[in-house]
């Protein structure tokens, strides 16, 4: 058998194009369904574990899926916004702990997640380098963000404008990186966390500038009355918060009206959860309170339906490929008729020919198997990320 393998190997390495094509076909047809299976298992793991560890999510009425994808996986699609009043309402009910989320802006393509310190306790996130958020304008970054951007505690990170032509004229905020979070293998690794108030600074709702009520620079003032000064757009707002200017940062309007994308709602117990859900079931409440686990179950059901369809397609393709491979071998036997004849005359038998072909198939399958294993290992290695880019984004 070793000799057959040797000759087969020589033949395969001689006819490289044919061999490569065969190996590619066999590898692809093996890798496709397995990789798909791996990715689905991973997305199920990621989606479900995250969803199941988030009891309730409060947001504006609309797509529950958008709300969950944004609130749990920091998806780009921003749901309708709600206001800070929702947090107060949940807190006032005494039934649950509200954790506000404002997931809308980005810093170098990573989502900026505005929240409160309660989020870190809730998700069990700890700081490995540097320290927790303390002052306005600081951020803590997920492990993956730190690694990919090569930043650590003490560096700074610039928020990105929401659109290229940001007409509102919101200045990017240069955030100070206070700390780096321990890796959690969740979307938290890929997020930039800021205090909810800092998120409003990014949006320009909270900002700092020279004191216009005392300024001597008439150029920045449109109109001055006894109790209010109207400033114009020439007034320069600070793009960085430091000990020298932090005092000047202030709110405009009512903080209750400040925007949020969702509120993670952690009920005290089962009963509180039921009461809360009952309260927000009412269509007039202006909110929807969803159970992320249920929403994600629905999504997974759809994904699996698609997967079954894909499986069927892959099966058909596999059969077609199999037939094509049989044809390729049959043709190659005809092409090698003279060689086979010579083998017969030298003293080989039909069995010899069969052994040679078997050795060829074995080698092709072996090489494909190795390639398949490598591909699957790679998929497995990066499944975390692949799922995030393919399924969640």
């Amino acid at each position: 058998m070793m000799d057959s393998l040797y000759i087969a190997w020589k033949y395969l390495s001689f006819s490289k194009a044919r061999t490569a094509t065969l190996v590619a076909c066999v590898t692809l047809i093996a890798v496709l369904p397995l990789a798909l299976q791996l990715l689905l298992a991973e997305s199920e793991r990621q989606l479900l574990s995250r969803a199941e560890s988030t009891p309730l999510l409060l947001g504006a009425p609309g797509s529950a899926l958008d709300l969950v994808m944004n609130g749990l996986y920091f998806d780009d699609e921003v749901p309708e916004l709600i206001s800070m009043a929702a947090v107060d309402a949940v807190a006032a009910s005494g039934l649950a702990t509200p954790i506000p989320l404002y997931v809308r802006f980005k810093a170098r393509r990573f989502p900026i997640v505005g929240t409160t310190l309660d989020y870190f306790d809730f998700r069990g996130l700890t700081v490995t380098a540097g320290r927790q958020l303390a002052l306005l304008g600081e951020c803590v970054v997920g492990a993956e963000v730190a690694e990919r951007l090569g930043i650590t505690a003490g560096d700074s990170l610039l928020s990105s404008p929401e659109t290229v032509f940001d007409l509102a004229g919101v200045y990017p905020l240069n955030m100070k990186v206070a700390g780096v979070l321990a890796r959690s293998h969740t979307p938290d690794d890929l997020a930039v966390f800021v205090d909810i108030k800092t998120a409003w600074v990014v949006q320009g709702l909270v900002h700092g500038h020279q004191d216009v009520t005392r300024t001597q620079d008439a150029g920045v003032i449109i109109e001055q009355t006894d109790d209010n000064v109207i400033a114009n757009a020439r007034l320069v707002e600070y793009t960085e918060i430091n000990p020298g200017n932090i005092d000047s940062f202030h709110f405009h309007g009512t903080p209750d009206d400040y925007p949020l994308s969702a509120v993670i709602t952690v009920p005290r117990d089962e009963k509180s959860a039921t009461i809360l859900r009952g309260r927000y079931l009412d269509g007039d409440s202006g909110y929807q309170l969803v159970v992320p686990g249920t929403v994600i179950d629905g999504l997974l059901a759809n994904i699996f339906r698609i997967k079954h369809m894909l499986d069927a397609v892959i099966l058909v393709v596999a059969v077609a490929t199999g037939l094509a491979l049989v044809l390729v071998f049959a043709l190659s036997i005809r092409l090698r008729q003279r060689e086979i004849q010579t083998v017969f005359r030298i003293g080989g038998s039909r069995l010899t020919i069969a052994r040679l072909l078997a050795a060829e198939i074995t080698l092709i399958v072996l090489v494909s198997g190795v390639l398949c294993a490598i591909a699957l290992l790679l998929v497995h290695q990066y499944s975390d990320e692949l799922v995030r880019t393919l399924v969640i984004r």
């Binding site: 807190a91 702990t97 509200p98 409160t116 310190l117 309660d118 306790d121 320290r131 927790q132 958020l133 303390a134 002052l135 306005l136 600081e138 206070a178 205090d195 108030k197 216009v212 009520t213 449109i222 109109e223 006894d226 109790d227 209010n228 000064v229 109207i230 400033a231 114009n232 757009a233 007034l235 000990p243 932090i246 005092d247 940062f249 202030h250 709110f251 405009h252 309007g253």
Partner: protein, 296 residues
């Protein structure tokens, strides 16, 4: 059962008890001003460590903690806030919401506007910046009682086992505060129309509660007023004749002499926002009351 297994059981029980004791360690309570620290200390007694990290001599209302101090606040079991916009730094740092106790939240509808504040807006369509809310709430002693009550409730939630102690201590504190309240009311009742000046606009709640006829200027106790301020005062005295100026702290002699020349005497009513050099909140307030009596 062998001795060895008994020893094991004993060891494990000790460990369990140890962890129980650990869990029941004294809670750490951080506060943003001295009145809250004082109330919390009175209510908690030996059951908690109450900290006010503001250095002496600095008005806690206008203090800005560094990051390290903010982290200490984050790690406390409770953070007592005054509310009413007191200590603006609170809105510029990250604190865990569930540890925060806004002691004046119960009477949010009774907040007063700071009369001197000027807001600003960006463009004609823009929302106004936050106008100032007056924050020296505790000088209305009934409001101080409300704040103390909120502290007692928060402590009871934190350590339900010590609820009785907290409630008992609160009752005593309430008595003290209400005694101050009735003393002030009695003093003011002698001459309700008595016209007073205040060196600084910090007495809004005090004025409302006790029905004082009080107008504020913007003088600092330790800074001699400029000529412009003197002429402003003379204008004011024409509209609002008064014989007494109420100071937050001991006024400098130059101001006192100058005022006396205008027929205005000085008295100190210390809001006691930070730790006093001598005595405590109660003794400072009692001294305040004694000082106030001179004007009536």
């Amino acid at each position: 059962m062998t001795y060895r297994s008994l020893a094991w059981i004993a060891a494990i029980s000790l460990l369990l008890m140890g962890s129980f004791v650990m869990a029941e360690e004294k809670p750490v309570i951080y506060t943003v001003n001295y009145p809250l620290q004082y109330f919390a200390q009175r209510i908690a007694g030996e059951q908690a460590d109450v900290t006010l990290p503001v250095p002496a001599g600095i008005d806690p209302a206008f203090w800005q903690p560094d990051a390290g101090t903010v982290i200490a606040f984050q790690q406390a079991d409770l953070v007592l806030l005054n509310g009413a916009g007191y200590a603006k730094w609170v809105s510029r740092v990250s604190l865990p919401r569930r540890k925060l106790v806004d002691t004046s939240a119960g009477y949010r509808d009774r907040y007063l506007q700071a009369e001197e504040a000027v807001t600003h807006s960006h463009g004609r369509e823009g929302g106004h910046s936050h106008s100032g809310v007056a924050f020296t709430t505790w000088l209305d002693f009934t409001l101080a009682v409300e704040q103390a009550r909120a502290i007692a409730a928060a402590l009871s939630r934190l350590r339900p086992a010590a609820k009785d102690v907290f409630e008992r201590n609160f009752s005593v504190l309430e008595q003290d505060l209400l005694a101050l309240d009735s003393q002030v009311r009695e003093i003011v009742a002698v001459d309700p129309d008595n016209s007073l000046l205040a060196s600084h606009p910090v007495y809004q709640y005090f004025k409302r509660r006790y029905g004082l006829n009080l107008t504020s200027v913007m003088w600092e106790p330790d800074v001699a007023p400029e000529a412009a301020q003197w002429s402003e005062l003379r204008q004011l005295l024409k509209l609002h004749p008064s014989n007494w100026m109420v100071w937050e702290g001991n006024p400098n002699p130059e101001s006192v002499t100058g005022l006396r020349g205008l027929g205005v005497d000085s008295l100190v009513f210390d809001p006691c926002g930070n730790r006093p050099v001598d005595g405590d909140f109660l003794s400072v307030m009692q001294q305040n009351v004694q000082n106030l009596k001179r004007a009536f």
